[in-house]
Every structure is written in C-alpha cells, then in structure tokens.
C-alpha cells in the first residue's frame, strides 16, 4: 500500500533546500539564459512567431535555435530523437538558425492538423505542444534552454505576452517613486536598501475564459548586491515589490533584470544598468 509518509520526501525537498550555501538563482554570474520569449506566445495556423532570449554573458556568445515536434522530458534527459527525414514536410526545418533571434512559422490549418496526426498527436483538433531549444555558447561555457510552444490547429484564443511597466525604486522617507531608466545607467548610492516596484502595464494581463486574470509573476535578477526575494507575484497596485540592497562598492556597472511571466507561455523583460556612487 502507499505509505502515509509518501509525502515526506516532498517536504524534505523543501526543508533541505533551506540554509544552503549554493549559488543563488537570482544572482547572475557568468553565462545565463534568464528568459526565452515567443512573440506571439500562442501560435495558430499560418502564423509566425519571433523567438528571442534574455542572455547575460561576460563574453561573446553563439546562439543555436532548434525545435522538437514533441516535448522532451527529464526521464529521457531531454533528448529529441526526431529525424529531419521523418518530419512532415509542411513543418519548419528542425534547425532554426544561429542568430540572436529566430523565426518559427506554421503552415495552414489543414497541413498543421495533418502533421499533428502524422506525429501521433492525440487531440489534433486542439493542436499539440512542441519544444523550442536554444543553445548558447561561449568559448568556455554553454547553457541549454527550452521553451514549450503550443501549436493551435485552429485560431488560438487570446493570449498576449504580458507587458512590464517601468520599474521604480521607492525613496522611503519621501514616499516618492523614481523610475529606473532602461536607456541610461541609473546612479544609486552604495550600501543602501532600495524598495523596488514592478508591475504589468495596463491591459497586459489577459482575462481567462472563467473570468479570472492571468497570474503574473516577476523574477528579479542582479549581478551585484542582494535581493530580498527572487520572485514576487504581481498583485494589483503597486504590482510586484522587492528590496535590493546595493553593495558597498562596485567599480563596474551593475545590472538589474526584471522578467515578467504570465504562466501561460507569455514572457517579457526589462534590463537596467546601475552605477553606484558614495551615499
């Protein structure tokens, strides 16, 4: 029989994760892929989406985009054993190029549905999932990233990528919000705590068929200083909040990356440069 303690390992996973000395997910050092976006994020017959990634690297990087006509799993170590010769001819080539961005286009509904059936899809009237693969390389490092795309065999429901409002830091004594610039470096005093706010731009949160709204989640990344949280949900005004503690000193500019996801495949981001000065 199933043991009543079968939940224990799950709890252990959580407890064991506390107090670790391992690197923090939200602190960026070296080559990282922080997000992969498809615009549009849901793809219908005859449509084309642009794929791009938020890549951070101290060195020049090489990109290689490809896709798999099904979703690979951890149990198979994410190996896609699809062969170009057996792929339905109506579908794009498995190799999507080596640029920083890539295009992925779909055939007409009939051809797409036929391809779905040829691939053994179970519910081809609704479409099927495929997987985008991005390999990012430097001379010394490599990161592989995956993103799942749902290919609709009929016009897809509304699904927009979320949009970020400008991130601001809150000057607590004056209760004054200061927008961070995405264009020029932001000059902030070293060693201080900066309450941060990031939100979805108006109208960027899709309404679901049941009347509820998408659940938006902001992921925060920095390459210096310390964040209080790694991810925070967007809850109305003022949106997602966090606190960044600036380091005591840093000669090189620092960066803050804010990634917004809607939980349904929609992703967007903003990057900010920060220069520290004495308080």
């Amino acid at each position: 029989m199933m043991s009543l303690n079968n939940g224990a390992p799950a709890l252990c996973v959580l407890i064991c994760a506390c107090g670790s000395d391992l690197p923090n997910y939200n602190e960026v050092h070296g080559l990282r892929v922080l997000a992969v976006a498809a615009s549009p994020s849901w793809l219908g017959p005859g449509a084309e989406t642009q794929l791009e990634a938020l890549v951070v690297s101290p060195d020049p990087v090489q990109y290689r985009w490809s896709w798999c006509p099904w979703v690979t799993e951890a149990s198979g170590n994410f190996i896609c054993d699809a062969r170009p010769s057996t792929l339905p001819t109506s579908l794009p080539s498995l190799d999507l190029g080596q640029q920083a961005t890539a295009q992925f286009g779909l055939p007409t509904a009939d051809l797409l549905k036929a391809a779905c059936l040829e691939l053994g899809g179970a519910e081809c009237d609704l479409g099927f999932d495929v997987q985008i693969r991005l390999e990012v390389k430097t001379e010394t490092d490599e990161v592989v990233a995956f993103k799942t795309l749902h290919l609709w065999t009929q016009p897809p429901p509304t699904q927009n990528n979320p949009r970020l409002s400008d991130t601001a830091w809150l000057d607590t004594p004056q209760l004054q919000a200061t927008q961070l610039s995405t264009v020029t470096p932001n000059r902030l005093a070293s060693g201080l705590d900066y309450p941060l706010e990031a939100g979805a731009a108006e109208g960027a949160q899709d309404v679901l068929p049941d009347g509820s709204s998408e659940r938006l989640l902001v992921s925060w990344f920095v390459d210096g200083g310390e964040l209080k949280y790694g991810r925070t949900p967007v809850r109305g005004e003022p949106g997602a909040t966090n606190t960044w503690t600036a380091p005591a000193a840093s000669e090189a500019p620092l960066h803050l990356y804010v990634v917004l996801r809607d939980g349904r495949g929609g992703t967007t981001w903003q990057s900010y440069a920060i220069e520290l000065e004495a308080p």
Binding site: M2, L4, V13, C16, C18, P23, S75, V143, A145, P233
Partner: protein, 863 residues
C-alpha cells in the same frame, strides 16, 4: 528429623517461555523426602539446601544444580563438619531427582522450565531417631514477627527472598512467599538482627526488638543491584526456531544511547538494518523501508514512529520486547519482502498501582498500571511532544520559513488483561497516534513558482484496537484469536501543488491453533485475513520509484488527479510443523497461501527452517522460503499506476551459526541471499509499471552480544552486503536504493557505583547510493532549471558515522525511583549526509547534513 518442608521458591529462569506468553507453572505432584543425616543429629543441625531444578516437558526432573547450603546448630558451640554439610546436600539432591511435577505450559503446550527449589531440614528434638514426617510434633506456632519484602523504587513484592533473624548464636530463616511476605514464629524477646537477601537486590540489614506477646510487623524495600532493573520481573527467552530472530527487551534498550530508551528505535542497531533515507523507516537486507512489516502482538501497524524518528508510537513501559526477523521468518508472517518487527506487549501483573513518567526536552509521557481484582489488570499511557515550542523559539523572527505547526506528536495507549480462568486469557489493546507539521513560507514563489499556497503541511493519524483471546484448554491444544480494527489517515499538502489525502480502514482477523501431536511434533494452523478499505484523493505527480531521484517538485503539468475508494481483501492460510526428531535437530516446514486483493493474485509460499545443535554451545541454522508482497497503492490505481500490476516475489535463503560460550555472551554469524523478481518497474508506455524488475541481495551478518555481566552490557553488529537490481533485459545491474556495503554498530553500557551508568553507541555506515544529476537545462516555462540524471544509483553519499553518549543517574527511594539522564546525539557534531542538494543549474552540489549535536536532558520516575 522432625519434618522436612518442601518450598518451591520462585520461577527464576523460564528458559523456554517468551515474555508475554501465558505460562502455566509446574505443580508438584509427587513429593520426595530426603533423609536427615544421622551425623547431624548430635549438633541438632537445621539446614537449608537450595537447588535449581530443570524440569522437562514431561514434568520430570532433568537436571539438578546445587545453589547453596546453610546450616544452623541448636547446640551451642557445636562444630559442623564439612562432611555433614555435604551429606545434607547429597541427601537433598537424591530426593530432588525423585520429585515429579505437572508439566509447565505455555499457551497450552508443555515446555521445559527451570525453577529454584529449597529443602529445609529441621533437627530432631532429642537424640537422633529415624526421620519421620510429623508436622504434629511442631509446637503451636505463635507469629511474633512478620513482614513484606519489596523492591525499592517499584514496590514490587519480592518472592523467594531469604530473611534471616539472628540473636546471638541463634538464627532462623524464612523465605518470602508469592506476595513477598514472611513470618517468624516463637522468636525470643529482645533485639534481633535481620538480614534480607533477594536475587538482583542488595542485601538489607535491620535491627528489631521483639516484645513478649506483641506482633511486630515490618516492611523492607531492597535496593536493586546494578544487574537488576525496575520493571522486568522475569527475564526469559523463547526457544529460537527461526534462522535469525533477534530480540530487544525494554531492559536491554532502556539506556541505549541515542534511542531515548525506546526498544523500537534501537532496532536500527541490529544486523541487517540499513540507514534510512529522508523518508525514514527501516530498510532491511537491501529492501526498501516499505517492505518491512511492523506488528504489535501480531496485528499490523502502519505508522510505528513519530515524525522525525525521535519516538516510536509505543511507550517503552508497555513493551516487553521487540522481535526482529530480517528474513526467513515463520509462515505466520507474510506480505513483506523485507524484515518483520513484532512488538510483544508486557504481561500485566501489577500487585498495586504502578506507574512511570518521563519528561525530556522533546516530550513528556505518563504510564499507569493497576490491578482490577485478582484476575485482571489495566495499563494506560500517553505522550505529547513540545518540540514545536522549542523549534519555534529557535527560528529567527525574520526567517523566510516559519514552523506554524512544528513537528508535533501525541499518542495514547490502553492495555487490558483479563484471565478469568487459567485456560482463558483476554487482552484488549488500543493505540492512537497523531503527527502534524506545517511550514509557512514568507515568499513561496521563491521556492516554487507554481505554488498557489504558502504552506507545506503533513498530518497523520493512526488508531488501532485489538482484542486477543488465548485459549489453552490442555497441553496438547491452544488457540490464539485476534480481531483488530484500524484507521490510518494522512493528509499532505505542499503549496497547493501536491495534495495527498488517504484514509485506510482495516479489519484484521488472525487465528492460530497450535497442536501438540507428539512429543516430537507440534503443528500450527492459522488464518491471517485483512480487509482494507481505502479512500484517496490525490493531486500529485508520480512518486519517484526505486533508483529515481527527485530534488524539486516536478512541473505542474505532470501532476495527476485520482480520487476514489476501493476495498481489498487479503486472505492467507498457513500451516507449519515443528518436528524435533532428535534432541539436536529441529525441522520446521511450512506453507502459506495468500490472496492479494490489490494485484488480484493468489500466491503460494513454501518455507523451511532447520536448526541443529552441534554442541550445547553451538547451533547451526538454515532457512529457505518464498515471500510475496502487494504493490503500493499508487502503483495499482489509475492514472498513477497499472491496475493489473501484481505482487512482487522474494526467495529468501540464509545459513548461520550461533555460539554461546557463556550465559551472558553469544555470537552469531549469518550468511543470506535473497533473490527478487516480479519487482515493479516503471516503463515508458501506457502500462506505466510492469512486474519486470529483478534483483539479488547477498550478505553476511555478525552479531556479538553481552547481556549485563560485570557491569557491562551491549552488542556489536556488523553487516556486509551487496544489493543489485535490473529492470528488464536491456538494462544492466545497478545498486538498490538502500545498498549499504558496511553497517557497523557498537552499543555499550557500563554500570558505575552509586547508581550511575554511562552508555555509548557508535555507528559506521556506508553512504547509500544516489542517482546524481550531471547537469541541468533551463526551462523557460518553469523559470527554473531541470536536472539531467546520471546513471541510477551510480554515486554514494559519504560514509556515515556518529557517536551518541548517555549518562544516567538513579535515586532509588522506598516508594519510587527517580532517574535523570543526559543523552547527547551526534556527540562530535559530524555533518552526516542525508541527501545531496544541487545548485539551481546543477553544476554544484553539497551534502544535506542530518541533525547536528543534540543534547537532550530528561527525567524519568517510576513508582
């Protein structure tokens, strides 16, 4: 000789009686009177000669071991020649061999026993005359001193204690009866010195003044000697039948360092038991913890330990001993390919209200037992933890994780014994246990982006009620019937992403009839039926199976839902013979037929055990047999598993030898081999699971044990083993999850003067295998990395070793006893790896350490 009295003293060593079993003591049916030595007449010597008698299962005296002879001369300044003393002994021994008893019985079966027997010679009044039995010749006795002898600390009445009253050259003896009482007749007025001597206790000494015409009543409380404890009256051991059966008495485990005195927890230190993983339990001989069955008096119990493994669900005061079978067990046990643990509860026989309390930094417990008339007794117990208060205070206010309900447990028990007649015994046992733990995460999105709730919670509740009726109408037949009901419920919820809700209702019926067909043949026939009604409501991913690692919650898309009820009958019949063709050889063939409701299969398990006493100190043993085990519930219900999955099978074999050179010292070596097939294995198709796994476990167990002697007790256990499995034909051999090459435990306790004792436990265990992650990929949809798994169980955790220490100090008062202890777990603060934790991108890893040094101060009291 005026007369000779025959005083059977106390049943001292019932070498064939299992603690907790119903013993019908032998009764003297044919007395024998020793001749009064004529040479002693002149000095008018009284004498007492004490023997240990070995009574065989026919009631005949098989062995006579002299214990002591004491004499008292009525003639002042008489010289007692050694030859005269020897003559008393010789004559008494001759008579002892002519005694006849009704056989002692255990559960209606005649068994050999040992008892202490005293012959008392009283000198003739005048010149030597031929001895004759003439009670009428004794002057009418006038009792002028009487009393009761009890054990200090427990107030237990001590029977068989020797009380000597001395006044000048004159001395008289009395022996306490079953109620610890003694009487002296016709003591002269004046001051008398009293010496009180009882086995396992320090000699008491007192002075009392006898006044003409007055009856003096006294009570004596004897301090226990270091070799004694407070709550164990009879230390005995059932004759071993199984190839490997290891017992831990409450007494032996009481002060084992690191176990809080809990015999169930001390099982970890026996051969064959491996170090558990994060989920706890007892992996035995390479099998997973779920394969070991836990029983209380033959009734299955699902949850035997509280959360964290600090306590079992049973109070040690209610436990007589814990039997552990790592394999090749009797056909009365089944449905588990690992080991069997059967807890034997204490046989209640309180003469008055007794109890115990235990207060430590972890929890507090209370135990009470009392007689209910002459034929019944009751015991109740309860325990509640408050570790939640301590942990709650230890976690900083600004911590990201808070224990809203820290590990919290409580349990309660009731035991009722009623023996309306010697042939009938009824026993009612109730058990309840509850555990809960809840974590609150300040910002749960950091831990799991898919989380919808900030809490992770686990709660279990388990209850059992069993009624046992033991019927022993004759020495050739006995029957043991048990009916039990149980309810186990569990609820686990992790961030709203993972919810497990279970409720198991079960009804158990066990009946064992034992027939003594011939002097050399006993047969046991039985039925073991269990009806299990399960209700489940699950939203979870498939739990990782053997060889599959898991370090994060899988993506929400992999979650499955299942809700429903099912009722599964498990019915087994078994028959076992115990044939002893010669005194040296015991052959125990048996067969068990099981029907598994889950798996819908009928299985046939033949088993055979052999024992051969090559020498009185050396016994050879061997066993072979099949065991089947039902699949786990999740493996048999859709959409998690395969409703057509069947039971797995193990062929268990073992050979061994036990050598007991001294009463208190034994050594045992066992070689075992276990072949496993029809193991459940995950497959990458619609079946999800199939019975295609195979495995093998081979090893060596060494167990050297010293019962308390010279102040020292303890044991050494060592297991060398290798356990491997293969899934299908295309996958090579790999290690089982619980393969641990070396497992060494050293347990020792030493009694110091002034009721101090010190204990230590040191364990050295090979790290268990783990499936490593060899890299990771970034999953945009989850905003997280996912690990690339290496070969299953291709790495090991670092070697585990830990030293636990314990110091006890006892204060024994007349009416009660107080002990305080300091138990220090992980004394040298070793960061033992419980698991491996990986960095977010699986490029770095570190060990997840177990508990650091943990001192626990406690106080126990008994009365």
């Amino acid at each position: 000789m005026r007369y000779v009295t025959l005083i059977p003293l106390v049943l001292l060593a019932m070498t064939t009686v299992a603690l907790g079993q119903a013993l019908t003591p032998p009764v003297l049916t044919e007395a024998a009177q020793p001749e009064y030595p004529p040479a002693a007449s002149q000095a008018r010597l009284d004498a007492t000669v004490v023997f240990h008698l070995d009574i065989d299962s026919e009631g005949q005296v098989e062995g006579v071991r002299w214990v002591q002879t004491s004499t008292r001369a009525h003639v002042r300044h008489a010289v007692v020649a050694p030859e005269v003393v020897a003559q008393f002994q010789l004559n008494a021994e001759t008579a002892a061999r002519r005694l006849r008893f009704s056989p002692a019985q255990v559960d209606g079966v005649a068994v050999p026993v040992s008892l202490q027997y005293t012959f008392t010679f009283l000198a003739p009044e005048a010149a030597p005359t031929p001895p004759q039995v003439s009670p009428q010749a004794v002057p009418p006795p006038i009792i002028n001193l009487r009393g009761v002898v009890r054990a200090a600390g427990t107030r237990r009445r001590l029977s068989g204690a020797l009380v000597i009253a001395k006044q000048g050259e004159e001395a008289f003896e009395a022996t306490t009866g079953p109620q610890g009482d003694f009487r002296f007749f016709n003591l002269g007025v004046g001051e008398w010195t009293l010496l009180i001597d009882a086995s396992g206790h320090r000699t008491g000494r007192d002075k009392q003044t006898i006044v003409q015409g007055e009856l003096l009543e006294v009570s004596y409380y004897l301090q226990p000697s270091p070799e004694n404890t407070y709550d164990v009256v009879v230390q005995g051991e059932r004759v071993e039948r199984e190839v490997t059966r290891r017992t831990l008495s409450t007494q032996a485990a009481a002060t084992v360092a690191g176990t809080m005195g809990d015999p169930v927890l001390a099982l970890t230190d026996l051969p064959g038991v491996a170090q558990a993983g994060p989920g706890g339990g007892r992996p035995v001989r390479g099998s997973s913890p779920q394969d070991t069955r836990f029983y209380v008096e033959g009734v299955g119990v699902l949850i035997d330990e509280h959360v964290g493994g600090f306590r079992s669900v049973l109070p040690s005061q209610m436990v007589q001993e814990v039997e552990f079978y790592p394999g090749n067990f009797s056909v009365k046990y089944g449905r588990g390919m690992g080991g069997v643990v059967d807890v034997k509860l204490k046989e209640l026989a309180p003469d008055q209200l007794h109890g115990a309390f235990d207060v430590s930094l972890l929890d507090a417990g209370l135990y009470l037992e009392a007689p209910l008339g002459d034929k019944a007794a009751i015991a109740v117990a309860g325990r509640r933890s408050y570790i939640d208060v301590i942990l709650g205070a230890a976690i900083p206010e600004d911590s990201d994780v808070k224990l809203t309900t820290a590990p919290r447990w409580y349990d309660y028990q009731l035991l009722l014994d009623w023996r309306p007649a010697p042939a009938h015994q009824l026993r009612l046992f109730g058990l309840g246990a509850d555990d809960a733990m809840e974590l609150f995460f300040d910002n749960v999105a950091d831990v799991d982006p898919d989380a919808s709730q900030p809490t992770a919670r686990q709660a279990n509740n388990s209850q059992r009620a069993s009624l046992q009726y033991r019927f022993t109408p004759s020495r050739t037949f006995s029957n043991d019937l048990r009916i039990a009901m149980g309810r186990d419920a569990g609820q686990t919820s992790v961030f709203g992403r993972f919810t497990l809700g279970f409720r198991f209702l079960n009804l158990t019926l066990r009946d064992e009839a034992r027939l003594h067909l011939h002097k050399t043949l006993n047969v046991t026939v039985g039925v073991d039926a269990r009806l299990e009604a399960s209700k489940y409501d699950v939203h979870a991913f498939r739990p990782p199976k053997e060889g599959q690692s898991q370090d994060t919650l899988p993506p929400e898309q992999e979650s499955l839902d299942a809700a429903g009820t099912r009722t599964d009958p498990y019915v087994a019949g078994f028959v076992e013979a115990e044939w002893t063709p010669t005194q040296q050889l015991t052959v125990i063939p048996g067969v068990r037929v099981d029907y598994f409701g889950m798996g819908r299969a009928t299985t046939f398990d033949p088993r055979l055990m052999l024992r051969y006493a090559l020498h009185p100190q050396l016994t050879l043993k061997a066993g072979v047999g099949l065991v089947h085990q039902a699949p786990e519930l999740d493996e048999a219900i859709a959409p998690f598993g395969n409703p057509d999955i069947g039971p797995a099978r193990a062929l268990q074999t073992s050979v061994g030898a036990k050598w007991q050179p001294l009463d208190f010292l034994s050594g045992e070596v066992t070689l075992f081999y276990k072949h496993l097939d029809h193991l459940v294995r995950p497959v990458d198709d619609a079946d999800i699971y199939r019975n295609e796994g195979r495995g093998r476990v081979a090893g060596l167990e060494v167990f050297v044990r010293q019962q308390l002697a010279f102040g020292l007790s303890g044991w050494l256990s060592y297991t060398l083993s290798r356990s491997e499995r293969t899934d299908g034909t295309s996958v090579g051999q790999r290690l089982f999850d619980y393969d641990q090459t070396h497992i060494l435990s050293l347990v020792a306790r030493y009694e110091l003067p002034a009721n101090w004792s010190v204990g230590a436990r040191w364990r050295l265990v090979s790290g268990r295998p783990v499936t490593p992650f060899v890299g990771g990929v970034f999953q945009e949809d989850r905003d997280a990395y996912e690990g690339l798994k290496g070969a299953p169980n291709s790495e090991r955790l670092p070697m585990f070793h830990m030293l636990d220490l314990r110091v006890d100090k006892r204060w024994v008062f007349d009416q009660w006893a107080l002990s305080t202890y300091l138990s220090v777990s992980n004394t040298y603060n070793r960061a033992n790896a419980q698991d491996i934790s990986y960095s977010f991108d699986y490029r770095q890893k570190e060990v997840v350490a177990g508990l650091p040094i943990l001192p626990i101060l406690g106080v126990t009291g008994t009365f």
